[in-house]
Amino acid sequence: MRYVISGYTVVLAILFLYGVQLVWRRRRLNRLVADVEGSRTPDRPQTGIG
């Protein structure tokens, strides 16, 4: 039975950790997009360059 438990544990742990990593990456990118879009808003100080 220890092989069975090991098999389930390893597979589910890999899938779970990959899923967590995906969510973390998506949230980080969402924050970056919000940041970029925030920096595009006109209430920010403009230098007039470009």
Binding site: G7, V10, G19, T47
Partner: protein
């Protein structure tokens, strides 16, 4: 429809969440049924419980993920359907498929030790599955080579179509060669196997749950790819944006003008490049 619309659509977000929830519940049920409810096998005893996850992850990796990647690559290469949407979907599918492929090899190895007496054998099924993993790792490596999105998409599509040739070899390896790995059992018409009702349902549930898990991961991974494209995806851009969001670098007043400006004497890094609007 723009990439931004796709990735921020509430409908897509909610669908992703529901699929994720169903995958979690389905996987939990499979584990419960597989470990505690279903009976042990007459020959394999408790080891048969690995059947509820091993073929499921193999199905997702080999047929679903890599098959989808090949289909998307074909659609990208076909001039009438050419769109970076297909390229992004293929990339997402391969990445998730590689994770499932690793799970297939590990769970198979863990099953192999008590049944065959070895963790690994250079058997046709095992070897061709390992080759498949290497091929798609190569695909992911190829995508990291800097290039214009269209160039990267075209070369990746060819790489996926080259790699997917191994899938039928994996499938028929147990027919073409004498292997330690058993051939098709449940769906083998010549064997007409009998399987306990609870075992059959748990096996089916495992397939469904892992398929849902794949779909959830695919949707989230696609969204990541779309957001990366939206942000310009350059490593420098990403690093600068990250530093900016952490407050290390103040936000640039004008994003376009300072994208490639050198670092000044005070050590201030240039601002990020304006994100490109990538459309489907």
């Amino acid at each position: 429809m723009t990439t931004k619309t796709i990735v921020q659509s509430p409908r897509v977000i909610w669908t992703t969440r529901i699929i994720g929830l169903l995958a979690l519940v389905g996987t939990g049920l499979t584990v419960w049924l597989g470990l505690w409810v279903t009976p042990p096998d007459q020959t394999q005893g408790d080891l048969v419980r690995l059947v509820y996850i091993h073929p499921g992850v193999a199905w997702v990796a080999l047929y679903l993920a890599f098959g989808l990647a090949a289909g998307c690559s074909l659609l990208y290469l076909w001039p009438r359907t050419r769109s970076l949407f297909w390229d992004r979907l293929a990339a997402a599918s391969v990445e998730v498929g590689v994770v499932f492929n690793v799970c297939t090899l590990i769970s198979g190895s863990i099953w192999g030790k008590p049944t065959w007496g070895v963790w690994w054998a250079w058997d046709a099924r095992l070897t061709s599955t390992a080759v498949l993993l290497v091929l798609f790792l190569g695909y992911l490596a190829l995508r990291r080579v800097p290039a214009e999105p269209e160039v990267r998409a075209r070369r990746s599509a060819f790489a996926a179509l080259f790699a997917v040739v191994d899938v039928p070899i994996v499938h028929f390896s147990v027919v073409w060669w004498k292997t330690l790995h058993q051939g098709a059992t449940v769906l083998n018409a010549n064997l007409s196997p009998t399987i306990h009702g609870s075992m059959a349902w748990t096996l089916l549930l495992g397939f469904v749950a892992l398929t849902l898990a794949f779909v959830w991961m695919l949707l989230v991974r696609y969204r990541i790819g779309a957001l990366e494209d939206y942000l310009g995806s350059g490593e420098l851009d990403m690093a600068l944006l990250e530093r900016q969001s952490e407050g290390v670098v103040p936000p640039a007043p004008d994003l376009k003008a300072e994208a490639l400006a050198p670092v000044d004497d005070a050590g201030a890094a240039p601002g990020p490049r304006a994100p490109a609007e990538v459309t489907r």
